[in-house]
Amino acid sequence: MKRHLLSAADLSRDDAELVLRTAAELRELADRPIKKLPALRGRTVVNLFFEDSTRTRISFEAAAKRLSADVINFAAKGSSLSKGESLKDTALTLEAMGADAVVVRHGASGAPHRLAHSGWVRSSVVNAGDGTHEHPTQALLDAFTMSRHLGTGPKGSLDGRRVAIVGDVLHSRVARSNALLLNTLGAEVTLVAPPTLFPVGVESWPVEISYDLDAVIPKADAVMMLRVQRERMSGGFFPTAREYSRRYGLDGRRMATLQDHTIVMHPGPMVRGMEITADVADADRSVIVEQVTNGVAVRMAVLYLLLGGSEPAVGGEE
């Protein structure tokens, strides 16, 4: 039975730790002269991107190619998707092409779930971001990055580490996936945002909630800033960008209140001057560039564990 990676909640602690451990071994590959492993030779990975994305698509493409898989990129612009083809017909086309895995990014929450459970395709489905719902591989790479900097013990455990996720939680699939995964891994997550940028039902998430950034960050071991997704905003969620930056942006003054070991993260793309100032983004404690490097290793781990063997080693049941 095929398995998929649709939500960070699909991963048990053992699964998540297996992905992180595998990623740690695969990260060494980046330092070798030949950055290639034969594990997925002859397998086909389709990148199905209904929404614009540069780094996630490139990251998945690099990951699949380093594992010797064949990669087909299928972007909405300039394809039949922009001519009105339905998700179902696109899926049937992919199935006919013999895709082993479909990496899907879609503007509608739940589209990867639909693709995985409709019976249209037999391939593994990896959610690369759906609407405002989830982005599990981003959460895995964030956890991996935290584990490398903050992890304790031989396994790089995040037990008891405090993570502050700050900004537009309402529109952020990264925040939801991170909250779920970090909770699974034993970290304590605090979400910080203005009241208008929390989603309905956030009180049922396994997190603390705060409206006061200055009170939260001095205790945090990692501070993750989220982009304000203005393209998804139709109404007024805060009075002005300047007021948002002053209350919820990370600037040099706030950075000075962090503990010495605290790292600053951002899933990208960042808007310098809005949620994060340039001096913070370029500071030594900022691991934003490393997150991108780690993204390739984590996505290799996910693809390897889903496709490498006769049956997937991680992920939720179909």
């Binding site: 595998t22 071994e25 070798r32 002269p33 594990a39 390897y304 490498g308 063997g309 997937p312 080693a313």
Partner: protein, 204 residues
């Protein structure tokens, strides 16, 4: 980052099963003597250890490689680069089982280009692991020569591969299981063989 995750090998499920008696073929002192001999043979063959890189194949090959490197260093008076080479991704049976956990690959800082690589594994059986290791080396560089040292050669090769240095040749039948345990990873140093019929002689 885990440095040496050592999963329990899929060896004999129970050593007390009366239908499958376990016989010890090499004990701690036998293994020590075999490794000392192999170390000297490696030095003899290569006229020293100046260009050597010793790479163990996880999981049991790594502590064996470290012990061989220690012995060589003790004889020659200088350290020999030692590391590990995981071959999981290069196995030809990767698709026949669920995706396996990767084990550490640590190549010494000097790399393997132009060096003499001595691969070390615990048991040489079908030869498929070594085939995978040769492929893995190919992606890491171009050694001047590759040699193979194994603690036990149990026969039944399925590929044209042979060992240069052998601790013990152990004729076995295909249904028997050879298991190497090493102090540090397991409880004790031992090589055991588990058959299907009651053993005629049991040596402790």
């Amino acid at each position: 980052m885990p440095t040496h995750p050592q999963p329990v090998p899929p060896g004999p499920s129970s050593s007390t099963d009366p239908a499958r008696p376990v016989r010890t073929v090499l004990d701690e002192r036998d293994i020590g003597r075999a490794l000392t001999r192999i170390s000297h043979e490696i030095l003899e063959r290569n006229k020293g250890a100046t260009d050597l890189v010793v790479l163990g194949i996880p999981s049991r090959g790594v502590p064996l490689a470290e012990r061989i490197a220690e012995r060589i260093a003790a004889v020659e008076g200088y350290d020999v680069p030692v590391g590990s080479l995981d071959v999981t991704m290069y196995r030809d049976d990767l698709r026949m089982k669920p995706a396996r956990t990767l084990l550490p690959t640590q190549i010494p800082a000097g790399g393997i280009d132009g060096r003499i690589v001595v691969l070390v594994d615990d048991v040489l059986f079908s030869g498929r692991t070594i085939r995978a290791a040769l492929d893995a080396l190919n992606d890491l560089g171009r050694p001047r020569a590759v040699q193979l040292a194994v603690l036990v050669d149990r026969g039944h090769r399925e590929l044209p591969i042979r060992a240069d240095f052998v601790g013990k040749n152990l004729p076995t039948s295909l249904v028997e299981r050879v298991r190497v345990t090493l102090a540090g990873t397991d409880d004790v140093d031992a090589v055991t063989i588990q058959g299907t019929a009651p053993a005629e002689e049991v040596t402790a």
